[in-house]
Structure formats: C-alpha cells, structure tokens
C-alpha cells in the first residue's frame, strides 16, 4: 500500500501571463482514493491533463506510475485509465464493440479481451445489452460501463473527471461500489466531483483554489482544521475567496 504512484513537485502550467496551475506538490499512494476538488476555473482540468501526459508542464517535475511527465508520456498513457462525464465511450458502437475497441487500443490480447468482457458483462448485469448501441443505454449504465472499460487494462491509476454528474442517487452509489472494489485491487483512483458527499468517500482530498492547492488531508482532518460539520462547509470556506471563476 505504500508505493507512491503520483508524485508532483512544484508542477506549474502557464498560458502567457496566466498561471493555470501554480507549483502543485503532492503524492498519491497505490490504491488510494484521492479526491481532486476545486471551484470551476481553479485549474483542475489543466492539472489533470498534465498528469495524464496530455499537456507539457511549464516547470516543475512529476512522475506518474513511475514515469517522467516530460519524457515518458507514452508510457504514462499506457499505465493509466481515464473517464469523464462528457466523453468516454463510442455511442454508435455496441457495448461489446466498445469493450473490444478499448481493449485493443490498450494492447490486450483477443483471448484476454474475451475473458475480461465476459466477467465485466456479468458483473454489471449487462448480459441482455451486449449487442445494444451504447447510445440506447441509460446514463447510469453508460457510466458504470465506461468506468469498467477505463480499468480493463488494469492500469495503475484511473482518472475520473466528474464521473457521476447527472446520475441518479442509486446508480451514483453503485458507481462508488465499483470505485471501492477497484481500489481494493490496488488501482489508484484520482477523482473530481461536485457532490460533497462523494468527497467524504475519498481517503484524502486536495482543494484547489486559483491554481494553488490550498488544503490537502483526509476529510476528517479537513473538517477539524476548518471547524466545519461537513465537506460542503470546508469547500465553501476555501473557495469563496476565489478570484477566478469559470471552467
């Protein structure tokens, strides 16, 4: 449990004069559920894009799954999974086609893809839906499937960008069951959310305000630190002073 899979040191991204992410330093351990919170415009997306090897930092260092964020971006991409609320699966492919497609992209053998897709379909209760277009599935199922596809190649880390937005309360909880079981298997979860009850389900949380990590601790300690009853209050306390607004 003690292996460190994300390590950043003063990671910074500038766009001209604008510092989107300002000297971000933190570590995440294997199997940890790490909540990456912040107001709109705080710099979460910029930071996440750097961690996924999609955007080159202006300065600072980081290793993701043991790989350097400047020189080994292709290796990083092979060792992480990613899902967002907006894009995750191909709507005009069927359930099984999506599984095969993403399995292929990550270089999993046909034999393994077959085995994995059977267990996955069984687990999610999608037996009668395998030949249906993803577009026809309810959002909740889509998101559960997208998550399972994102960890099909057993990545070290999975990045989840608002995975439960707009999902009904029952499915939202089932989604977190999937997160817990992935974390039990040693997969590190890096998740953003606007639901403050979900912040409580994380082992540790970072709060980003105006490009800077303002607080980082367990939910319990953060509440103590800010003498707050709920994570909602902690968030409000930290984010209300934010100067930047937007996405």
């Amino acid at each position: 449990m003690n292996e460190i899979v994300i390590k950043t040191d003063k990671l910074t991204k500038r766009f001209g004069n604008f510092i989107a992410a300002n000297e971000i330093t933190f570590e995440v351990k294997a199997g940890e559920i790490f909540g990456f919170l912040g107001a709109n415009g705080a710099g979460k997306t910029t930071a996440m894009r750097m961690l996924c090897g999609l955007s080159k930092p202006s300065s600072g260092n980081a290793t993701i799954a043991g790989f350097d964020i400047y020189k080994e971006t292709e290796k990083i991409k092979k060792n992480i999974g990613y899902m967002s609320q907006k894009f995750s699966l191909y709507e005009d492919l069927t359930v099984i086609e999506n599984i095969r497609f993403f399995g292929g992209i990550y270089g999993i053998s046909d034999k393994q893809i077959n085995e994995k897709s059977n267990t996955l379909i069984e687990q999610l209760g999608l037996k009668n839906e395998t030949k249906k277009l993803v577009a026809s599935l309810p959002l909740g199922w889509k998101q559960k499937l997208a998550f399972s596809v994102a960890i099909l190649h057993e990545p070290k880390i999975v990045f989840l960008d608002e995975p439960t937005g707009g999902v009904d309360p029952v499915t939202r909880r089932q989604f977190w069951d999937l997160i817990y079981s992935a974390s039990d298997r040693g997969i590190t979860i890096f998740v953003t959310t606007h639901y403050m009850d979900e912040a409580e389900y994380c082992n540790r949380i970072s709060m980003m305000v105006d490009g800077v990590i303002k607080a980082l601790d367990t939910p319990t300690n953060l509440k103590k630190q800010f003498s707050a009853d709920s994570m909602d209050e902690v968030f409000f306390e930290l984010a209300r002073g934010a100067k930047r607004k937007g996405d």
């Binding site: 709109n40 909740g140 937005g165 639901y195 912040a199 984010a239 996405d247």
Partner: protein, 305 residues
Amino acid sequence: MSDVILNNICKTYNKGIVLAVDDVSFSVGKGELFGLIGPDGAGKTSIFRILTTLLLADSGSASVNGYDVVNDYKKIRQHVGYMPGKFSLYQDLTVEENLKFFATVFNTTIEANYELIKEIYIQIEPFKKRRAGKLSGGMKQKLALCCALIHRPTVLFLDEPTTGVDTVSRKEFWDMLKRLKQEGITILVSTPYMDEATLCERIALMQDGKIMSIDTPKNITKQYAEILYAIKASNMSHLLSDLRLNKLIRSCNAFGEYHHITFNDDLKNSKSELLNYLKSKNYISIEIKQVAPTIEDCFIKLMNK
C-alpha cells in the same frame, strides 16, 4: 391561479420506443419557485421543451399563462424566458451584442428592463466586449440568465442551470433566483442535485418520465415512514457490505460521512442487537444516531419501490 398547467402529458421518441414523459400532470402557481428534481433521462428537458412550445407532446394538454402550448404558441413565446441546459447563445457575438440581440427580438431594449438584470449583469459587464464563446462557464451561465430575463418574462424556465457548477457558484445562483422570485416571476427550474430541492417551494421528484412524488420539500420528507439512522465506524466500506448482509437492516445507503440505515423492525432491541453484532466484528468508534431524512433519502426510497 396557475401559470403553468400540464394535463396527462406523454412524449415518446424513436417511433414510440423511448417513453420520455409518462402521463405527467402538475401545475405551478403564479410567482411560485417550482423544481423538477431528477437524474438525466428523467424527462425534465422534454417537459421544458413542451412548455416553451419547442416540442409537441404525443398526448395531453398544457398551458402557460393561460395560453395553450399548441394553439397559442406565439403568445407563449413572447412572454416566457428559457435557459436551456446546453449553452445556446451566439458564441461569436459579444456579451453586449447577445443581450442587445435578445432585447431586440422581444421588441424591447436593455435600458427598459435593466433594473431586473442589473445585479447579475454588473458581474459580467467588465467583459461586455468579449465574445460569448470565450467566456468561462460561470459567466456564460450569468449571461444566459440575463438574456432569458431581458424582456421581463412572466414565467422563467431554467433547465439544469447549476449542472457542473461548483458549490459556491451554485449558492450564488440560487440567491439570484430568490431575488427574481421577489419580482413576481414564476420560476420552473430543474436540477439533478437533490440538495437544491429544499430551496424550492414545491418540487416534483422525477424518474424515468414519471413523477414519483410532488409536494413541498418538507411534506415529502415528512412522508418518510421509517425511523432513519446515521451510522459510522472505523471501516466505512466494510461496514457498508456488512450492514447490507445483516438481517436486521431494511435499507442501507452511503451518505457521505455516515451510512443511512433503516431497520426491518423499529423496536429498540434492533439497535442494540446491531451494535453487539458490529462489536463482535471488531468495529471500533461506532456511532449511531437518529437523523431526519433528506430529499435524497426519499428519492432513493421511491426509486426502490
């Protein structure tokens, strides 16, 4: 008197295969702040589009301001304001040009109704020469609200105005709505965030095209029949699975810091039996307390019916 009335509205898509709105009836009083609460796919947007005369229902009738949505659609369009869930202003016009455009379309001017939008507009005014497409999410949302208000509508339709917005901006947005309500504008708003339900005067809880419950938030939570407990202990994820397997427990759901549970039998010994069981399983720092049900508790219960 009601500003918005729906009678047995049904709407299907894909030649009847997808039932989006399933026999929905409700009404919204003049000046009321009414919320449609439900996840994606509940039918909220279809209802908004039917009421704003952009979509025809398969069956049923509806009226806004006393005008029929089919026969008097032109009248309705003159009087209502609509903020769709998807940003729908002109991306290549500036902030000011968008606002001017919508004012002109409704035969009015920015000046004529400036008082109504002033508090919101001053927050984006420093960027009035910026193209709408270049605005941040929060500013787009404020501009869209200004454009929906510029003709001083009688009824304001807001389709998921706070989706994807952080808690601080969400609070600010609801404060704005309260002020608009004081201006006498009837507001129909939808949201997937259950915690926002309590900010409405009345709500309809929706799932799969149906209304599961409709009342004031207070009355809905009052209807929750069982005694609800919040429980926490040393290992929350194991506690969840152990509670689910325990025969004393009727329902168990994760609720942030605590799990919410109800017992099959509300007699006192259920609680102490459970505590003994958990202690035998080596849980420590066990805390259990009775709590008032939230809208989300009610929603989950209605979904599992």
